[in-house]
């Protein structure tokens, strides 16, 4: 029953989407507003249908309907309910359906929330949103269907197993017991709280960029190339960016917890495929501000939006099609070719549309660049750096390996080595800009003025650097890195401080009221400072944990210790071959961590051996703001019961990465918050709609 419900709601969603496209385009061609309204309703219908389909699949997994092939492949009777829920996106078919459902929700929201304020763009927005949606629905209906069920073909001699949605003639359902015992279940690596949030966050981020893309296409298709499309999509860009940032950080945290190599980012092609949209998305965030404030860079902004969404589609294509080798690969499937064609068509058409409009002279800048140090110039530099990072990362993950494999017949891997050689200078430049740009003004800034604003932050940075130097940081690279990162953080703090002090001088209010009012009155500016502060803290964590990581590996007998930095790791005992409730076998070591002779923690690092043959190495961690002491049980020989091999990492400042991201989230929420200074109705009437009292000519 659930399979039929899911299958047919997906089909209805597809029909609604196609109808919406036709109705919207008809409505705008024939000037029939009613048709566009009808299209909008169809968008909402497709959303409801897809959500129902996703819910049907979810219920099937939770209720253990193993006859459904997808449920059979991602769950088994021994899985706890929590992971059953996350199994919805555990494999190709389900994750595609989940993606489509999220996309349809965003589409419905985008259309209904912007209905009044952007009526002119709506038909094209609807058409674009639904065109992308119908592609993904099509994938679910024709290539990777999550609602297929196992049947035994009683007609054939060997009782062949079939996989279709609807019951074939002469086929019966296999026995439930047999299905349940052979069900595969999710890989143990996916049984972590990270599985609950990392994929949904990433998908929300990816799908979120569809809305600005749709508005951009709508602007180009309709000819309305003013800032309307930007105003409508600014918040979407921020929200999508936030989810994408969270998804990436959570992915790192998850890898840190379960992969057992003491790190959080491997520069693997699939990781980088999710990083690419983030890079251009950040560039986009900044450059749309230029168009909003100064009416410049119109062509570039449209191009950036197209590039961002194109890299989203490319990323999901590369991940799901096995284009390059990666640890994250889905199983090989027939999905590669349709996704490739979709990516190519989308990118080419959008860019061609942009170039056509540009050739018509509709994308003229309204003002000129006056001063090299003006904020718009520095934002252009910011864009340059992010696009350079985009190219460098794309080249290392895809460009070079593909080129060498196709044209030089050699398979190469560009790994951490390569990325850590080419990206640090660019990241450094990014942080420098992050420090300088907020201090420069729109239009013009003199070097002297900038210097004055930089004075206080520079002083604070110098003090911090001296402190770091005295306490042992003595490599030039680290000093430069820290210096630049701290400078940008201090700029944000000093700017917030200046605003706060200014308010205190003018208003007679409590400090807390001043502080909150500062953020409430100008959320975009101060939210932005807070985001920068978060990025700074993350940067400090990244530098510390990358440049100062220590590791060692030793085999210890019971009672022996290994020494690293000023820590002592003492191997107390081992509990070998423990059998857990879900059938896995665990080797658990008991370990004491001491520092300068004092016991600071007890840990139980372990190795899990699953019935499927997979093993997981779970570290014991002692986390403080200063560092993580990360202990792995790498091996244990039962024969020589005495010795076990441990690998220990000291990761300085790594927790700043996770804490910094909280500040980043807070800053983004503030920056997105609607300003209730001027009601949107009144604000928009000045720009878009005809003044009241004038009849439509």
């Amino acid at each position: 029953m659930l399979a039929e419900i899911g299958f047919f709601t997906t089909i209805f969603a597809g029909i609604a989407a196609i109808y919406a496209i036709i109705s919207a385009l008809y409505g705008v061609r024939m000037n029939t507003p009613a048709a566009v309204v009808s299209a909008r309703n169809a968008v909402v219908v497709s959303c409801i249908m897809l959500v129902l389909a996703a819910v049907a699949l979810q219920i099937a997994i939770v209720n253990q309907e193993y006859q459904m092939a997808y449920v059979w492949s991602v769950s088994n009777p021994s899985m706890p309910t929590f992971y059953r829920v996350t199994a919805l996106w555990g494999s190709q078919q389900g994750s595609l359906l989940f993606w489509s459902a999220l996309m349809s929700v965003f589409a419905a929201l985008a259309v209904t929330l912007n209905w009044r304020s952007n009526r002119r763009l709506m038909p094209y927005v609807i058409a674009t949103l639904m065109s992308v949606l119908i592609f993904f629905i099509g994938l679910n209906l024709f290539v990777e269907n999550p609602f297929e069920r196992w049947w035994l073909d009683s007609a054939s001699v060997n009782a062949e197993v079939l996989s279709t949605v609807l019951q074939p003639a002469g086929a019966v359902a296999p026995s439930e017991a047999r299905l349940a015992e052979s069900a595969q279940g999710l890989s143990p690596m996916l049984r972590h709280f990270g599985m609950a949030i990392h994929p949904p966050m990433l998908y929300l981020g990816f799908v979120g960029f569809l809305v600005p893309f749709a508005f951009a296409i709508a602007a180009m298709a309709s000819g309305d190339l003013s800032t309307n499309w930007i105003k409508a999509s600014r918040r979407w860009v921020l929200v999508a960016w936030l989810f994408l940032t969270l998804g990436l950080i959570l992915g790192g945290r998850w890898a840190y917890d379960v992969l057992g190599w003491g790190g959080y980012w491997g520069w693997d092609p699939v990781e980088n495929a999710a990083f690419l949209p983030w890079l251009v998305g950040t560039a986009l965030l900044h450059s749309i501000m230029i168009q909003q404030k100064r009416g410049m860079l119109k062509t570039w902004n449209l191009f950036l939006v197209i590039l961002t969404f194109s890299s989203v589609i490319f990323g999901t294509f590369a991940t799901r099609s096995g284009l390059v080798e990666s640890v994250h690969s889905f199983a090989r499937s027939g999905i590669g070719t349709p996704m490739f064609l979709f990516w190519f068509t989308l990118t080419f058409t959008a860019v061609a549309l942009l170039l056509w409009r540009r050739s018509q002279g509709l994308l003229r800048d309204e003002r000129q660049f006056k001063s090299f140090l003006s904020r718009e110039s520095l934002f252009v530099l910011n864009n340059l750096i992010f696009v350079a990072l985009f190219f460098v990362v794309a080249w290392g993950s895809f460009g070079a390996p593909i080129t060498s494999e196709l044209f030089m017949d050699t398979n190469i891997t560009l790994g951490t080595d390569y990325f850590m050689r080419v990206t640090p200078p660019l990241f450094l430049a990014m942080y420098i800009l992050m420090g300088v740009a907020p201090l420069s003004a729109w239009g013009a800034t003199s070097l002297a003025k900038l210097g004055k604003s930089l004075a206080m932050p520079l002083v604070l940075t110098a003090i911090t650097m001296t402190f770091l130097f005295v306490t042992g940081t003595n490599s030039i690279g680290a000093m430069i890195g820290y210096g630049v990162v701290f400078l940008s953080g201090y700029v944000a703090i000093v700017e917030i401080g200046r605003g706060f002090l200014a308010r205190q001088r003018v208003h007679k209010e409590s400090p807390i009221k001043s502080f909150t009012a500062l953020f409430a009155r100008n959320p975009r500016r101060y939210g932005g400072y807070m985001i920068h502060l978060g990025v700074t803290i993350i940067g400090i964590g990244l530098i510390g944990s990358t440049m100062y990581q220590m590791e060692t590996q030793q085999t210890l007998g019971v009672g022996d210790s290994l020494f690293i930095s000023d820590y002592e790791i003492r191997y107390d005992s081992i509990e070998g071959a423990q059998i857990s409730t879900d059938g896995r076998i665990m080797d658990i070591a008991n370990v004491t961590v001491l520092r300068n002779g004092e016991v600071i923690d007890q840990m139980r690092p372990r190795r899990d051996f699953y019935t499927s043959g997979e093993t997981m190495t779970i570290a014991g961690t002692h986390s403080t703001l200063e560092n993580d002491v990360y202990v792995l049980l790498v091996g244990w020989e039962e024969i020589s019961q005495n010795s076990a091999t441990f690998k220990v990492y000291i990761n300085p400042l790594v927790n700043l990465i996770w804490w910094g991201s909280f500040i980043l989230i807070l800053g983004t929420i503030i920056a997105v918050w609607p300003r209730d200074v001027v009601p949107s109705r009144v604000r928009d009437s000045v720009h878009n709609v005809m003044p009241r009292g004038v009849s439509h000519a």
Binding site: S326, Q368, T410, Y418, L428
Partner: protein, 164 residues
């Protein structure tokens, strides 16, 4: 303006160079004395290599028995006194270029490392050229500004007409 631009580029380069220089430092042509080889020494080399049969997993973190074997082979080679470079080259010869993080072959190495640097430099030059274009447009843009203000006046007339 030009001077400021120059100064900023120099500043950028000054900051970038030390970092680049640090990354380029190379570790190991020195042979390891054949005493007891520690796990750390093995991992030091293994961390620069990738598991030949897994997908993109460094050799020091890979947990399969095959990887255990390969790390054992590296240990044997270290005990026999091979240098780090020799061990890595040998591994590449046996398993192909994909087992090392930056290609050994000079052509491929250039392809990988030089291309992004060239692209970034081209990007910087492009932005510089763009800025200079805008500045020269700025000088000739005065008539356009006048047009904008007449447009405003025309608009104002039109709107007052509409209002009746």
């Amino acid at each position: 303006m030009r001077k400021t631009l120059q100064r900023l580029i120099i500043l950028f380069a000054l900051l970038a160079l030390p970092v680049l220089a640090l990354q380029a430092q190379d570790g190991g042509d020195v042979p390891i004395p054949p005493e007891t080889v520690t796990d750390d020494q093995v991992n030091d080399i293994a961390s620069q290599l990738y598991c030949p049969v897994c997908e993109n997993i460094p050799l020091d973190t890979c947990g399969t028995t095959a990887c255990d074997d390969w790390r054992y082979e590296i240990r044997l080679q270290l005990e026999q006194g091979y240098s780090e470079d020799a061990i890595i080259t040998d591994f590449v010869n046996r398993f192909g270029d994909r087992v090392v993080g930056t290609p050994q072959d000079p052509v491929l190495r250039a392809l990988s490392l030089v291309t992004p640097v060239v692209a970034v430099i081209l990007g910087i030059l492009g932005v510089v050229w763009m800025f200079r274009n805008w500045r020269t447009e700025d000088d000739t843009a005065v008539p356009a500004q006048q047009t904008v203000s007449t447009d405003d006046k025309y608009r104002a007339l039109l709107e007052s007409d509409i209002r009746g």
